[in-house]
């Protein structure tokens, strides 16, 4: 019994029992465990796990094996790894996990270009099955028919989604798939004796930077098409660039602006007329599944990011998975092995003499291939189209809500719809208040969310890129728009609140200039102790 009751206070009323409605915006605070580094948690003599020791008869039979090695090859000083009990290790990492805002926990529409859709939990259960997790890649094909069938079927599904003739599932991620396409392009022209002549790859400034970077890494000269006044890749620049030196066009559509380039067939035709190949970066395919395909637009190669469009989790930045689709003409150059089916048995085919070889050990990021297969099977043709249409609807709905916010604008092609994402600009808000886009993003973190600006260079000033995908409800989108509206209001009325954000995060503003100087950057504890703490022998 409470003190108030004992003292004969009035009986509580219904009003006393009533919880007031939630405020419009949630009063979020990120977890803040103020956790030490794992090295600081070490107590000598403790351990997190036991390792099987050799049984006595083994030890007796072989003795000290390492003794046969010269001193220089035997470890002298043990590695200075921390020593912790098992629960202490677990607790440390669980605390760190709580200090991380996974897509499962927030309305993750702010990581534009990355297609942060829901990764169904049931698909995770498949990859934890020992028949997937504990399978060795060199097992006899007869023991892994199911895994091979999943890979074979997934190739078939992606062939239909892209319209291409063959698909490799080996690339590790999106940029790995871009690299693989470039490697195939190089092999194709080498086989035709045109490798030296065709030394140039053309891409566009609103295509992912890896298109330019992979081409350069492969030895190509890179020409980047700037946007024209409406934001489309400049077709006149393409006309000027395409010629006998052109190996390929690597291009996204819709580009990272969310604008679909309606002249894409003409782009492809110009490059084909110059004797080059065309590779479609389909990182932004989520809005066009079942609507339009690489095949119809005339592309010779394309790639998908299975961790984007096909729902596999982003895992803090991988493991991801990529898929490269090609026409029959390019198929001989696909990575080896391929998965083949003779009507009875599935097998891996390594005998591919013109292949660019392996782009990764074994066959690809198999767990994500299983997840992507399961995701497509849970949706089917209608579901994929529904996903695309709702992703586009969500994007245009969010666009209409964001347009209401003072200080934001939508550069380029004003009269045209956007597909699955929008690159916005806070240029006006910045001019009015001095607040930068990055700072708005940091303040948005105080409300339990995140947004990303854009790739560099910032062709769009003070950029923000939102991609709502099909996963979010109308209420989710309304909440996200309300957060940005509130931060914009603060920028105009109380800009210091935004400039000094975050206020409700795990940590406060970091001293980032030390990261740019070789005298002070500290990539590891070992380096930090030597360089910053001045410890000898660290």
């Amino acid at each position: 019994m409470s003190d108030a009751r004992r003292q004969g206070a009035a009986e509580p009323t219904r009003e006393d029992a009533r919880v007031a409605p939630k405020p419009a915006l949630r009063r979020f605070h990120q977890a803040r465990w103020d956790e030490k580094l794992i090295f600081e948690l070490s107590t000598p003599g403790q351990r997190g796990i036991e390792v099987p020791a050799p049984e006595p008869e083994v030890a007796a039979a072989v003795g000290d094996v390492a003794a046969a090695l010269p001193d220089a090859l035997r470890r002298g000083t043990p590695p200075a790894l921390p020593e912790l009990g098992q629960q202490q290790v677990l607790r440390h990492y669980l605390r760190l996990s709580q200090e991380n805002l996974g897509a499962d926990l927030n309305v993750d529409v702010g990581q534009g270009t990355c297609t942060m859709k829901y990764s169904p939990k049931v698909n995770d259960s498949f990859v934890r099955d020992p028949r997937v997790a504990e399978a060795h890649p060199l097992q006899d094909a007869s023991t892994v028919q199911g895994l091979l069938e999943i890979m074979y079927r997934l190739e078939g599904l992606l062939r239909e989604v892209s319209g291409m003739d063959r698909v490799s599932l080996q690339p590790a991620a999106g940029s790995s798939a871009i690299w693989t396409n470039v490697a195939m392009i190089r092999a194709y022209f080498a086989a035709r004796g045109e490798a030296e002549q065709r030394d140039t790859v053309i891409t566009s400034s609103f295509s992912h930077p890896s298109n330019a970077a992979c081409a350069k890494t492969a030895g190509y000269r890179v020409i980047t098409l700037p946007p024209d006044a409406d934001g489309y890749p400049d077709i006149e620049a393409l006309r000027a660039a395409a010629g006998p030196r052109t190996a390929a066009l690597l291009i996204t559509n819709p580009e990272d602006t969310g604008i679909y380039n309606p002249r894409i067939e003409e782009f492809v035709r110009l490059v084909h007329e110059a004797g080059g190949l065309c590779a479609y970066d389909q990182a932004n395919a989520n809005g066009i599944l079942g609507i339009t395909r690489a095949r119809e637009a005339g592309f010779d190669l394309c790639h998908f990011n299975l961790h984007k469009t096909f729902s596999t989790p982003h895992a803090c930045g991988g493991p991801a998975a990529g898929a490269c689709g090609v026409t029959e003409e390019l198929a001989p150059y696909l990575p080896r092995p391929t998965v083949e089916f003779d009507g009875e048995r599935y097998r891996l085919e390594h005998d591919r003499p013109d292949s660019v070889g392996s782009v990764r050990p074994f066959y690809g990021v198999v767990p994500n291939l299983v997840r992507a297969y399961a995701w497509i099977m849970s949706l089917g043709a209608e579901g994929l189209r529904e996903a695309a249409e709702v992703a586009v609807l969500n994007n245009n709905y969010l666009l209409s809500r964001i347009r209401e916010i003072p200080g934001v604008s939508v550069p380029y092609a004003q009269s045209r719809p956007r597909v699955e994402q929008v690159r916005y600009s806070w240029e006006r808000l910045h001019a009015d208040t001095g607040v930068h886009s990055e700072e708005i993003g940091l303040r948005a973190a105080d409300f339990g969310t995140h947004y990303w600006t854009s790739h560099h260079p910032y062709t769009v000033p003070e950029p923000m890129t939102l991609e709502p995908t099909e996963s979010y409800s109308r209420a989710d989108l309304d909440e996200y728009a309300a957060i940005l509206a509130e931060v914009a209001r603060e920028a105009y009325e109380d800009p210091d609140v935004v400039r000094t954000a975050p206020h409700r995060s795990t940590v406060h503003r970091a001293r980032e200039d030390t990261l740019e100087s070789a005298a002070t950057w500290a990539v590891t504890w070992r380096a930090y102790r030597r360089k910053v703490l001045g410890e000898d022998g660290a």
Binding site: L84, S97, A135, R360, H450
Partner: protein, 460 residues
Amino acid sequence: MTATPPHAHPYIPNSAPAVRRAMLKAVGTDSVEDFYADIPASLRLHRPLNLPAPLRSEAGLVRHLEELLAGGRSTRDTLSFLGAGCYPHHVPAVVDEVVNRSEFLTAYAGEPYEDHGRFQAMWEYQSLMAELLAAEVVNVPVYDGFQAAGTALRMAGRVTGRRRLLAVSDTAPEQLSKVTDYVRPEHEVTVLPPRADGRADLDAVRAELAAGDVAAVWAQAPAYSGLVDEGLPDLAELAHEAGALYVVGCNPLTLGVLAPPADYGADIACGDIQPLGVHMSYGGGNAGFLATQDVEQLVAEFPTRLFGLVPTSVEGEYGFGDVAFERTSFALREEGREWVGTASALHGIGAGVYLALMGPHGMREIGETVLAHTAYAKRRLAEVPGVEVPQADAVHFADFPVRFTGSRTAVEVNAALLEHGIFGGALRPERGPHEALFCVTETHTTADIDRLADTLKGIP
């Protein structure tokens, strides 16, 4: 085809017809077709995709996947001696618990403020690996060990400005294939076959280096055959005398007992972290690392992200950020070093958890157990008539070579072993039909190894 159900797909809340209509109305249209107005009719797919009927119910999907996987076997239910770049080590339950946390599994590219945990866990991974490798700089993981080797060699090329690369160890053929294609625009790879005893041919290396055009000597520790080459330190001297860098691909799981490459002169160490607590997943679990000392000239050549520790505005608070971001293709597109993108971050976090659990003692013990099991397996198999273990006197780690001297090829022996419920060794077709690579780890028991030897005795 059945009609669209009147309710939303569980993954697509706004596919509920009423919601969809209301949202269309809110943006002033009545059809999503308006959003696709820019796609020319000639590019539209005027038919539904031809895909199998969907399995909308979770129960139906589970049943379908079970039907596909039914009958499949794995190293969990079958005694296996497969390694060759993908290793059956025990994955601690705590590693699985951490990497399967939603917060880590579904995160992507947040800032250090909303994703502080991921930055700290990744920085700790870099730091734990650095202790293991006796290095001061370790990167955010790349796709796999093949990619790590390709990048290590290109880094050496950029630092030295030289063209040729010497591959001096027994190297996995697919790794050699990948690396050769990867470096092709800048470098040519000269493969120097190891001697009959499996060790690098130092005389041949010396002769090649004399030309003065070698950017890197590239060795494996252990070699693809599992051999720990006593000449590894000598190669460092030869490389450095000739102005080349020394790049060593190593299995980090060995480093509780074997010296880290930096200690015998490696300028860049690289390799795969799959052995450190990542499930094999039919070859899907590979992830790569690169390590150097904190030399500005080398750090400047890393293409990947490198997280750094910094103070914040609050005393005693650790912050994190990107070190020297202007190196990367994220900052400079084609003017950056190679490229950076989504790779294998979560495997790095998991490997960090693994090293934190194992500690210095666990890493030493696992190394000792694997060395002992490997030596025991070599000895037992060498006793089997018709089985020869080449390089018998050398030290092997996990993998070791086997030659079948009878009439059966390695393929035929493996088929016979499979009939006895055993996955035999990896084939080495490039070394002929009678060669294989067997592998044992700490997960094997004496009885497992004895069973293999006894079974082989029964296979004529």
